[in-house]
Point group: C2
Chain length 431, copies 2
Amino acid sequence: MSKYKEIKVALLGAGTVGGGVYKLVERRTAEMPDKVGAELKITKVLVKNLQKKREGIPSEVLTDDWEGIIHDPEISIVIELMGGVEPARTYILQALEAGKNVVTANKDLLAEHGQELMEAAERNHRDLCFEAAVGGGIPIIRPLKECLAGNEITEVMGIVNGTTNYILTKMTQEGWDFDDALKEAQRLGFAEADPTADVEGLDAGRKMAILASIAFHSRVTFKDVDVKGITKITAKDIQYAKEFGYTLKLLGVARNEEGKMEVGVSPMMIPSTHPLANVNDSFNAVFVHGDAVDDAMFQGRGAGEFPTASAVVGDLISVARDMQYDCCGRIGCSCYKNLSMKPAGEARHKYFLRLIVEDRTGILAGVAGVLGNNGVSINQVIQKPAVNGVAELVVITDKVETRHLNDAMMIFGEMSMIREVASVIRVYTQK
Amino acid sequence: MSKYKEIKVALLGAGTVGGGVYKLVERRTAEMPDKVGAELKITKVLVKNLQKKREGIPSEVLTDDWEGIIHDPEISIVIELMGGVEPARTYILQALEAGKNVVTANKDLLAEHGQELMEAAERNHRDLCFEAAVGGGIPIIRPLKECLAGNEITEVMGIVNGTTNYILTKMTQEGWDFDDALKEAQRLGFAEADPTADVEGLDAGRKMAILASIAFHSRVTFKDVDVKGITKITAKDIQYAKEFGYTLKLLGVARNEEGKMEVGVSPMMIPSTHPLANVNDSFNAVFVHGDAVDDAMFQGRGAGEFPTASAVVGDLISVARDMQYDCCGRIGCSCYKNLSMKPAGEARHKYFLRLIVEDRTGILAGVAGVLGNNGVSINQVIQKPAVNGVAELVVITDKVETRHLNDAMMIFGEMSMIREVASVIRVYTQK
């Protein structure tokens, strides 16, 4: 018999990431006593369908009996990888109340019910870790909570969805349309059959809610996040962005300006010289700006079997170490402030506008006039040669309050010389 | 009186970083109870010269009495920022033996006496944290020890010295010579009056010893690191590198290949498309490759008053949290393996060679013959037009064992048609 105590772990879910976690824990079995002073063993894996074969997971650990896990006093850590809000929420709450520690990758759940879960963990003096919920394998949650804890963080931003980054990379590098790029992403398994959560920015929005909550020490939930997807982005927008020296990315940007938070996800133009402009394919990257550290960037694989398992097993090792030192719950909820969200209209951004206009004199003057009257000043403008009586006017504005831009857009909508406001895309600027 | 316990801290050294740490702790005073459940106060700052004014540090906390700190039972954390091996080593050992926790940024000390210090920490069940020793404000030590703990890490590499990165950036972007770039770096305060530790690669070598020890779970000390500086790099090398699509950087590369470690620092050519090629000026960046996470990159400011203070205060907060939960020493030495170093001659690298040769027929055949006879195969070659009877031959080899390259270089040294082997620079290749 081993001289080490064995820590028993239950895994909820045996999908791609679950399989990766099981295999990675097996792979590291021999080293666990050196790493955490105990042996670590996944003894039960909760699945819906016991009949289905799970590659790499022996069938004897499979179970469909949650009660058997929650009432098993030997199991001290539960890893939740089922996804979705229910029954994951109930299971995690029950596990914490039963005195078990929890590791989860569930961003949907955390972005909505984070506070409830953190409070349950705190009440029960247990760990609730979720490094894998944001940025896959990239260490970002723990660095924010620990390494950068001395900072007042004013911005967290980045590329936090690999599917859309793959699609935009293909549109940029190969000139593909959105639909073609999506189909290829689906074929390669980067996008799901129903791609809504990715391409509409919902997944990125949930991750930004989690990042903002930790960075600003104030609870931000998914409903606080202003979310816009990439389905309306055209190859033309990307082409024109290039002409202005920009690259188009789906960016999450969370800011704390004088105690007012602003958290959003939308397609944005970013200078092509910015390090994020070269984060391509399914890679993710997160920038953090703090008053002491200045800029720090974290980059890596934002999804996938083993990168995500890397984050989960890192948390698992951390929980096991806490158990050995009897200090579970050591780092709990860090939302000790209560900042408010900035009202949407007050946000100040720079924009790229693409207008389809009639090919006649006075158009530029008319457009410039409307923008000027609404306090929107123009930074750059390109008028494209007309084809069949229709021209394109591309404008990059200076920073403007969103409500002023919206006023101008409404007037454009009523002007006969403007056939269509084809694109309104935010241009990323540093605060 | 506050309802919170006060944790008293002593700071050793009041230089640039020491001043930054003092100011940052003051700036965060009000938030400390929320962050760590206690108040945090630097009550003593050890300096050599009590008369010297320290901007931002009140004179009443200054002391030149180490005995007064080590015997002060109220001080539970010592932050060592004096630098150098002695007396820092003795002070840290005394502090640990006296039951105090230690935070240090001292890479020179850790790279030589890391084991002794870690053992003292372990023996006394105290924390010894050193996030600031590598990469300034960039979180890298804790991510390696915790977030990536589930990985078998096979490579850690990157730009870990800001001074040389600034110099090489200026040489690359402005075409300056090494001497001019060094002078400008000194003028701006990026380089010290005696720049040896930076430009000869010693500072980077110490950091790589620390990173390799943590990544590979095996003790690597500075003497194990193969170190080469940038003093012999010329504007011409950088120009030719560009022609081949490379950028010249001072890179630290640590690898674990089948249980044999190889740790070195030298000027290297890296493909200009590689993310590290665009890490410029005084920025640092570290790449990590693990079997689960694949590639992860950490980037930020590698030095400076507040970036370094960010790392120190992050450690300080972590120690304070451990004290509150009575779990100091929770993450100690992780060198639980005992891997050996790969013998120097067996390392296999790709090289850039710049030869000054006589302008006569048969030169290329002669050079190619010597390389071929020594098992060095040629990947690319450029012959530059001759000036005054002297030509330049630039060769990029395939991967070759160092000893075979050295044999060829020895023969070149004896060939009259070869005036000089002007440059032998490693080309970075992924394992």
